[in-house]
């Protein structure tokens, strides 16, 4: 007696179909699962046996072999419990065999009493099933809301094994739920904080606005208590709106990382991740024996905020260079290599020196010039170079905290501008494979960042005056492009260039130059 059931697994952020073949024949009662399963798959035997018995069904005392095809691919996780159980029941004739099981995909973990438990990676699995035109999906009830994110599929949420058996035997139907993009979940967020709460710090606020508009990496250097973290936290309130496609891609990553549940079925806003500075390389870029996405992938299309950046381990910071450049992380293991998308906007915050007073009151700073320099050297030059915007932040004085003179903008107002600028970029780069100014290739700069004669003049003069580097040239142009977009200006004007140069503080204001 033989049966064939379809299920899904995932590797990286992509799902793939797995066929589960079950053969039952006479002989000494055994139960074997073959096909490169990991520990969780091998242990499925015990869960399946108990779940079938405790659901009031009959577990065959025969020679059972379950094969998971393709047999050459490593499979992990407990989501195959349900399909294995269905396979056995089907081969043993407890499920109406005329019913066409080929249409279905089963995913779920079983508990010993026959309940179906939620699993990781539902979203990528369903997406891959839809690609194969399989639209009937049996998933754990607790994964329902996540599964609903995919359009044009029929979801059968199950709570217990007996429920699905009754359904397949056409005794009692399970109510089908149609995937509907969950548009109703896309609502405006109410944030607990607002940019208007940050007093002063005009330059930093403006820099973050530009960063959000063009997805530029940004570095803030300032004294402790000057508001770096406060500013960074409010960055989410001005990030451009997220699209459905972006949302699905982010949710896929969260799904396989097991960070999604029924309360938060998908990620409907740009993620903001701020790993602690004691984080390891594996946790930041991803890794593990069965590779899991790291913070840089979890911040995909969102913000990766590194507070106290110089305190991070050097190798952790350096490992960020490849994802920043390629927009993805590839983790290679002996068995296979896995690629996770990783296109976050990186925001770093740092103190200016060990004691932190170097900017505010250099008469009180107790660091030697050497210490000031080496403090920053912990962040390698190539990484610093990738920071498009560099801002220095000074502590506020009382007058500035209480100042009524300066116009304070609310996050909404800024967000509107950001959205507009991002839309201009999306339209401009349609078909180029990029979405924002920060991703511009050097070859594209000439086409999209044309300068006026005056602008070129100013740029040349500032290069001589401030001794800027060649790398700074490209960054200045990209940032100037974003500033122009924020203003809705087609061409890059003089004032855009001059403002843009202000954000090369490290080179201009000699933080990293000789003392």
């Amino acid at each position: 007696m033989f049966s064939l059931i379809k299920s899904c697994g995932f590797e990286g952020v992509n799902g793939y179909i797995i066929e589960i073949e079950t053969d039952i024949k006479g002989g000494i009662p055994t139960f074997d699962i073959v096909g490169l399963g990991d520990m969780a798959v091998r242990e499925a035997k015990e869960r399946v046996r108990a779940a079938i018995r405790n659901s009031g069904l009959d577990f065959p005392t025969r020679h059972i072999v379950v094969n998971m095809a393709p047999a050459g691919v490593r499979k992990e996780g407990p989501m195959f419990d349900l399909p294995i159980a269905i396979g056995i029941l089907s081969a043993w004739g407890q499920i109406n065999r005329e019913y066409i099981l080929d249409d279905y995909i089963f995913v779920g973990e079983l508990s010993l009493d026959g309940r179906v438990r939620p699993v990781k990676g539902i979203l990528p699995m369903i997406l891959s099933a839809r690609e194969q035109n399989i639209t009937k999906l049996v998933v754990p009830k607790d994964n329902l809301r996540e599964a609903c994110l995919v359009e044009d599929v029929d979801i059968y949420p199950v709570e217990t094994l007996s429920e699905i058996v009754l359904h397949l035997n056409e005794v009692r139907e399970i109510q089908v739920i149609r995937g509907d993009r969950c548009n109703r979940y896309f609502q405006d967020h109410d944030y607990l904080f607002d940019f208007a709460e940050v007093k002063g710090q005009l330059k930093a606020k403006r820099a973050l606005e530009i960063a959000a508009a063009g997805a530029h990496n940004c570095m803030m250097v300032g004294s402790p208590g000057s508001g770096k973290t406060m500013l960074a936290k409010r960055l989410c309130t001005i990030l451009p709106d997220i699209s459905y496609e972006e949302c699905v891609e982010i949710t896929k990553i969260y799904s396989i990382a097991g960070l999604i549940n029924n309360e938060m079925p998908f990620i409907n806003s740009r993620p903001f991740r701020s790993p602690h500075h004691t984080s390891t390389t594996a946790s930041v870029v991803g890794g593990g024996r069965y590779p899991k996405p790291g913070e840089v992938s979890l911040a995909h299309y969102g913000v990766l905020f590194l507070d106290e950046a110089p305190e991070f381990k050097k190798e952790v910071l350096d490992s960020l260079r490849q994802p920043i450049e390629d927009g993805k992380v590839t983790i290679s293991r002996a068995i296979s290599s896995v690629t996770f998308p990783a296109k976050p906007m990186i925001v770093m915050a740092a103190n200016p020196c060990n004691c932190g007073k170097y900017f505010d009151d250099d008469t009180l700073c107790t660091c030697t010039p050497h210490e000031v320099r080496t403090y920053f050297r912990r962040i390698s030059k190539p990484l610093l170079d990738r920071m498009d915007l560099q801002v220095e932040i000074l502590s506020l004085e009382y007058d500035e905290i209480n100042c009524k003179n300066v116009n304070v903008e609310k996050s909404e107002v800024i967000k509107k501008r950001v959205n507009k600028a991002r839309k201009i970029q999306n339209d401009r780069y349609k078909g180029n494979g990029i979405f924002s100014n920060s991703e511009l290739y050097p070859a594209m700069l000439e086409k999209y960042c044309k300068l006026t004669q005056d602008g070129e003049d100013i740029l040349r003069r500032s290069f001589e005056k401030f001794k800027l580097s060649a790398r700074a040239h490209d960054k200045i142009l990209k940032v100037a492009r974003t500033i122009a977009d924020l203003e809705g200006s087609e061409s890059i004007e003089c004032s855009h260039i001059t403002e843009s140069i202000q954000y090369r503080s490290f080179e201009k204001n000699r933080i990293l130059r000789e003392i």
Binding site: F359, T363, P369, L394, E397, E400, V406, N407, E514
Partner: protein
């Protein structure tokens, strides 16, 4: 002759004072080189000053050192190196050995020189902490520049911070001449970040040291080096110094050598001005600008004539062709160093307007930004 001087500086345990005495007795280092051990011991005994009886015990060691063949071989190697690197040796007998320096108690027998050293330059030393504040760095730069304009040679230690600014200020005046006294050999530039400054000083003045070319910048060298800085100068200006700063050692040496000690007053709460403020309390001459220093050396009848070269720098540069906004911003910055937020508060301009205004001023060289984004009038 150079070979013998190098050999003499190589000897361990024999300092400049004893070296001096020995060469006096032996009538030059050459005869010392050729002398027998017996003669050397006799010479050494003569160099022992009264009250220094303990030294008698170490005379055999010193004699060993002088007789050692190893040292002579080493001296030959160093001589080759010195010649190939274009380093000059200036001994006390040479014409261009600074006269003032010759007269201090522990004057070095030999100076290794890169550049040109002259006998009787009018020298003023400017020293201060390595981690100078914006204030100190500015004062050092300005005073050095103005003194240079008055024809004064600026002597300093080429350390980071104040010293560097003093040299740079002097070099900023076209004909400014400056001398750097190192605490290491000329092959070991310290701090390495000043290697370009080193070349510039060597071209426009001199970099000198009493140490052999390959001596590392050891901690103990610097207090000794300081006596040379003060020894070369008529007066020493301490710009900014903490309570335990090395500049205070130089100030003490200057005082012992009978030089004038000047100090720049600072904020009483700043730890980097505690040293200078206590110097002032102890009787140092207060310095507000170059004029204060020059006045000390101005003969009554000479009044202005001697220093006609002195260029009065205009604090407020002429403001031409500045638009209203930019002019307003410039006035604010001239009144006090400030940052963008304060400017926004005082002028009521928007951030973008301000960013453009400060940029224009920066580009014109009217203001400069310090780390942290504070804007200062350009000095």
């Amino acid at each position: 002759m150079e070979l013998y001087w190098i050999w003499l500086s190589l000897l361990k345990g024999i300092g400049p004072i004893r070296q001096h005495a020995l060469t006096e007795i032996a009538r030059g280092p050459e005869s010392l080189w050729h002398a027998s051990r017996k003669t050397i011991e006799r010479y050494l005994k003569k160099t022992v000053f009264t009250g220094e009886d303990a030294i008698h015990k170490s005379i055999p060691n010193m004699a060993d050192e002088i007789c050692s063949i190893e040292n002579r071989e080493k001296a030959k190697v160093i001589l080759e190196d010195v010649k190939s690197k274009n380093i000059k040796l200036v001994t006390q007998d040479d014409d261009n050995f600074p006269v003032l320096l010759k007269n201090i108690a522990s004057a070095p027998m030999v100076l290794f020189v890169k550049g040109e050293l002259t006998k009787d330059d009018f020298c003023i030393g400017i020293v201060g902490t390595r981690s100078g504040s914006e204030y100190g760095r500015r004062v050092a730069f300005e005073i050095a520049k103005d003194l240079a304009a008055a024809g004064v040679t600026i002597v300093s230690g080429m350390a980071e911070g104040i010293d560097t600014q003093a040299h740079k200020g002097c070099l900023a005046y076209e004909e400014g001449k400056t001398i750097a006294v190192l605490g290491s050999g000329l092959n070991k530039i310290y701090p390495y970040s000043n290697r370009f400054l080193f070349q510039e000083i060597a071209q426009r003045g001199a970099v000198i040291t009493e140490y052999l070319p390959n001596v590392s910048p050891l901690k103990e060298n610097f207090p000794c080096r300081n006596r040379i800085i003060s020894g070369m100068c008529k007066g020493l200006v301490v710009v900014e110094s903490a309570e335990t700063g090395g500049s205070l050692i130089t100030a003490k040496a200057a005082n012992d050598q009978g030089r004038d000690v000047f100090a720049v007053p600072g904020n009483i709460y700043s730890i980097k001005s505690r040293g200078t403020n206590s110097l002032l309390k102890d009787g140092a001459i207060l310095v507000r600008n170059a004029e204060d220093i020059l006045n000390e050396y101005r003969e009554k009848d000479q009044k202005e004539e001697m220093f006609t070269q002195m260029v009065q720098r205009k604090l407020i540069k002429e403001v031409v062709n500045l638009s209203k906004n930019v002019g307003d911003v410039y006035k604010q910055i001239l009144a006090a160093s400030t940052n963008i937020d304060e400017l926004a508060m005082r002028t009521g301009l928007s951030y973008v307007e301000l960013a453009n205004a400060v940029f224009e001023l920066e580009l014109r060289g009217l203001i400069s930004a310090s780390p942290g984004g504070r804007y200062h009038p350009q000095y």
